[in-house]
Amino acid sequence: MSQVRMALQTQLSWLYYQYLLVTAVYVLEPWERALFTSVLLSAAAMVGYTSYVFLPVHLRLVLHFFSGVFDGQAESAVTLMS
């Protein structure tokens, strides 16, 4: 169990290292790193919260809009035929 944890920890720290390298945050001082990471995480948290609150509502509205369009078309076609 502790071996799995160690492997996971190594993997996570490697991923953190990759994040530091790719975004060039590796060259910054520790307080700048903390600042950048906190800004990034808060932006990600805001995106997550917004999608959690609004995405279901928006999806439902979109589906309703499109289904309404198709039903309307079918009705007008039927009226034209008869």
């Binding site: 990759q18 390298l21 790719v22 945050v25 590796y26 060259v27 910054l28 001082e29």
Partner: protein
């Protein structure tokens, strides 16, 4: 040494040279492979494909460029933020600032121009200027230094990091050595002449050892005459103004060294730049120059000088000399070849790119080179016709004003050159050249197998590995130092912004064991940092291929 050259008149521009090398006893004829003559040269190219090995400049995947820009963008944002803090006064400014009384004057320290230095270079400058406390041979000792304020100031701890493998010094043939036996003549000359010359060549500084050196350099290169100078950079920057002036045209390669650019600018001639190693671009410029002449008056140009380098040190690429020589003959231009990195390092006997391509040295009008790289000394030379060199002796700024080369350095070059030429039946020189070629081949092929992106020609001992992202560049240098390998990493102002690289300079003094160790660590660091961007599929069994190129149309 017998040299004859004849042009082969059957539509090809290949030059045939009968050349007996001093002590090798080997005779090589151009156009002969394993005793049989090859006649299927593609006439359109005019040069044997076999001699010009392919150069690769593989492009990285798109996401790499995007992430590089992202990294630079983030650092720039933080740069602005820190500049703001410094301006407001929340942070101490470590840079030079004017005195209080001068705050209203015209600013002396241009703040914005060193934005990059202040906000990126300073953060990571522990990777450069590392103090070395031993001979820069295949392995060296570094002094350990630490910084308490994020690289604004350093202090030496007093400890030495010993036996770091040196992959950054230009020590191609391993002449940076302190073996007593080899340096005996140098010590003798120092005892005889002292160390300082205390004069310029024109005045009282022309020693007999300078004359001997110049004769030797001329013999080595196969030209009529040569002249040596005390500093390689100054050789370029001070002699180009003596050769060309206003009313002349200089066609210079995109990636030429700063010394060439400085010399060209100082001369006052018009400079036009052609794309790196691109013969179409060069031909277009030549045609336009010959047809249209000078900009407003349309008079013909007084001189057209093509400036190229033998090996470009940032790319590891080799100039396409046969094609350039053909173009220069067609359009009647002059050729200035800067062999700073290639003299001694390429060619079967170390004579540089003219030997690599089997060209007649008389085809290159001005051959320039430095003694810093392959000869383990310092200084430069210009070689060519007797008239050219005599002219430079009196008209070059270096000859008239600069101090002459000092005697120990002259003797070091003489002994290194004699070693390479194999005087007295010595085979040390030719062994070193072969060892360097072997090391180059091995190192490059292993790196390609591992999946790194390498630039440059297969026979060039300068190997740039592309790292791209600024964070990775810094981490690479630190990781390699932690594993006791010293590398040189190069970033933005010296290379394009998206192509930061680590430049490895191979040496004949590196043993196979050292190279294996370096490759092993490179493999690990490459995996750790995800540096293996190459998308080529390399066959893991290259020994299956015997030929280095394939005849597709025979």
């Amino acid at each position: 040494m017998v040299r004859t050259s004849t042009m082969v008149l059957n539509g090809n521009l290949t030059v045939q040279m009968n050349q007996t090398i001093l002590q090798n006893g080997k005779q090589r004829k151009n156009g002969h492979v394993n005793g049989e003559k090859r006649t299927n040269f593609p006439a359109a190219k005019g040069v044997s494909c076999r001699q010009y090995s392919p150069e690769s400049f593989e492009q990285a995947p798109m996401y790499v460029a995007v992430l590089t820009y992202l990294g630079f963008g983030i650092v720039t944002l933080f740069g602005y933020f820190r500049d703001f803090l410094r301006a407001v006064g929340l942070e101490k400014c470590h840079l030079a600032q004017e005195r209080e009384e001068q705050k209203e004057f015209v600013p002396m320290y241009q703040d914005f121009e060193n934005f990059y230095t202040r906000n990126l270079y300073m953060r990571v400058r522990d990777n450069w200027n590392r103090p070395i406390c031993s001979l820069p041979g295949p392995a060296f000792d570094l002094m350990e230094r630490v910084s308490d304020d994020y690289n604004w100031t350093f202090r030496l701890t007093g400890k030495t990091i010993e036996n770091v493998i040196n992959m950054g010094s230009y020590n191609y043939l391993g002449f940076a050595e302190n073996n007593e036996d080899f340096l005996k003549t140098v010590a003798d000359k120092t005892l005889q002449y002292g160390v300082g010359v205390c004069s310029s060549r024109q005045e009282v500084g022309n020693l007999s050892s300078h004359e001997e050196l110049e004769r030797l350099v001329a013999d080595f290169l196969g030209v009529e005459s040569a002249m040596t100078f005390g500093m390689g950079f100054a050789t370029n920057s001070m002699n180009i103004p003596a050769l060309v002036s206003k009313g002349c045209l200089i066609l210079s390669d995109e990636l030429n060294h700063t010394s060439l650019i400085l010399g060209a600018r100082l001369s006052g001639a018009t400079i036009r730049v052609f794309k790196h190693n691109n013969m179409h671009s060069l031909e277009k410029l030549l045609r336009e120059a010959v047809c249209s002449g000078q900009p407003r008056t349309h008079r013909p140009w007084r001189k057209i000088l093509i400036m190229v380098e033998g090996i470009y040190s940032m790319e590891g690429s080799v100039a396409r000399l046969p094609e350039i020589v053909a173009l220069k003959k067609k359009y009647k231009a002059y050729l200035y070849l800067d062999e700073a990195h290639s003299i001694g390092a390429v060619g079967p006997t170390g004579r540089g790119v003219t030997e690599l391509f089997r060209l007649n040295p008389a085809d290159v009008d001005v051959m320039m080179g430095t003694f810093t790289k392959s000869f383990g000394a310092s200084g430069g030379y210009i070689a060519g016709n007797k008239e050219l060199v005599n002219y430079l002796r009196s008209h070059s700024h270096c000859a008239v004003y600069a101090t002459a080369m000092c005697p120990p350095v002259v003797e070091q070059i003489v002994r290194a050159m004699k070693c390479i030429m194999g005087v007295d039946g010595n085979t040390v020189g030719i062994q070193r050249i072969r060892q360097l070629a072997e090391n180059t081949r091995y190192f490059r092929s292993r790196l390609k197998e591992m999946g790194f992106i390498i630039y440059g020609n297969d026979s060039s001992p300068v190997v740039p590995i592309l790292l791209y992202m600024p964070g990775k560049v810094v981490a690479f240098s630190r990781a390699m130092l932690a594993r006791k390998i010293g590398v040189v990493v190069v970033g933005f102002p010296a290379t394009p912004i998206t192509e930061a690289r680590a430049r490895f300079c191979l040496s004949a003094a590196h043993t196979r064991a050292m190279l294996d160790k370096v490759l092993h660590h490179l493999n690990e660091v490459g995996d750790d940092l995800c540096l293996k961007f190459s998308r080529r599929k390399i066959s893991p069994r290259p020994s299956l291929f015997n030929e280095t190129d394939f005849e597709l149309d025979s």
